[in-house]
Symmetry: C2
Subunit: 276 residues, 2 copies
């Protein structure tokens, strides 16, 4: 039996253990929920409008406190369902934000998640949100724009860059600068930047793209989605080669766009060969 310096076994140690009253942070999850607009025109991001201070009436990412006996993943899943009703979403941990003062109330860390959904369900604000809505998201080289036509809300940040030294390496980080009258709550713009960076980096060697697609899709729709995520064109031949062993024809033909033109073949995602 292993005894520590006080002569206690592990069981005895745990029985007498006092966690102490030192300060602990509150920990939340914030979720970047992305989907494609109808017609596959652009990315959509889900925002809620805060009903109370701080950042009252500012738009924010959905999220909330992690409860005792709950993993961050399950908390994100629960919040997503509670705040938006979404149940079938891809969820991936992005980064944990710990900057002091990021919440004016108290010490709060946030574990950021990326959620990808294949259809934009109707949402409405609950809990401490007085509204919820899908915003068009445009993330280009030099700016991020979030826009909801219906509510006539535009949130825009200009992007500048900053060099950051980490040991011998020098990174280039984006620095967002608010341009519009409206702003996002807390440091949520930084969460968007990090999540989009990770999504874009992983798109070619993961199958994340398909999480944004409905069960059946055409190559034109897939290509529009790729281009919306990456903010750059891709040749249809190139995209076809990337995905060709991951998709299968359904056998159906249908139109991709609202305009003229030949009908598209319909595909489903098959997950490709499993390597063993």
């Amino acid at each position: 039996m292993l005894l520590n310096k006080d002569g206690l076994t592990e069981a005895e140690f745990l029985a007498q253990y006092n966690p102490g009253d030192y300060k602990r942070p509150s920990v939340t999850t914030d979720i970047l929920v992305l989907g494609m607009s109808a017609g596959f025109k652009n990315l959509k991001i889900l925002l809620i409008r805060r009903g109370d201070h701080p950042f009252m009436h500012c738009w924010a990412l959905p999220g909330g406190f992690i409860e005792d006996n709950e993993t961050a993943f399950n908390a994100a899943k629960r919040e997503l369902k509670e705040e938006t009703g979404l149940e079938q979403a891809y969820l991936d941990q992005i980064y944990t934000f710990t900057k002091t003062g990021r919440d004016p109330r108290m010490w709060v860390m946030s574990i950021a998640y990326l959620a990808l959904v294949s259809n934009l369900e109707d949402v409405n604000g609950m809990d401490d949100a007085d509204d919820a809505a899908w915003f068009d998201l445009f993330f280009t080289e030099d700016k991020i724009v979030l826009r909801n036509e219906e509510k006539d809300v535009t949130i825009e940040y200009k992007l500048t860059t900053e060099q950051f030294k980490n040991s011998v390496l020098t990174y280039t980080n984006y620095i967002p600068v608010l341009v519009s009258k409206e702003r996002l709550a807390f440091d949520h713009i930084e969460i968007i930047i990090e999540a989009m960076k990770k999504l874009r980096e992983s798109i070619d060697y993961s199958d994340n793209l398909f999480c944004l697609m409905p069960a059946k899709f055409t190559m034109a729709e897939l290509r529009a989605t790729y281009q919306a995520v990456m903010n750059r064109d891709v040749y249809k031949t190139t995209l076809k080669r990337i995905v060709e062993n991951k998709i299968e024809k359904t056998g159906c033909l249908r139109k991709s766009s609202v305009l003229n033109g030949r009908q598209s073949e319909e595909f489903t995602y098959t997950g490709g060969k499993q390597y063993e």
Copy 2:
């Protein structure tokens, strides 16, 4: 002046705000510190030996609690210095571990960091550690072995895989199974798996590799480091092409290995062209 439903301004709201007494997790950072062995034979990982319960006398990753008014990054930096004396290390956030029960004492989350160092300084245990040492690290397809010859300690986990479904995607996760008599404390083996996965994924499109190198190095040394990290061979022509616009000759010649053979050119990392 914006008033909330209780008629309070933001300043008033913050002045009267009560954070409440709901349960908060303790948050630590755990750091995977990697360096190359003398002679560039294999990766080395820094472990400390726990001096008290829980997991008393088990080897563990260095780390500790994040203090109030401190970012996770700074906590990792501070812990690294306190526990090992290392000051110049590359530090990158890997993943936040939140599984309930991962610490038998209480609710603890851990923000895992990867630290890469270019030389293995002498280390000794402090605080709640009764020892500290560099271990050889071997991470192959089917097992992870941590070994310290001098202390005759071997920690070994067999790796099996498990399919994990996330929305339409199916991932393959590693499941470690303890094989040796000794084990790592807590879920630290999972931190090693995640950190090594991320390091390997990023090695070709980041300059992380150079964080493991001294200021001056030969191609043979760089190649040995690449191979130790990736656990696979790389042709010297291939590696040369990858790094050729990131390094510069110092003009000196010296031997890479202890054996016979031609002398090597010495290089330094220049960071390559900065794209504008």
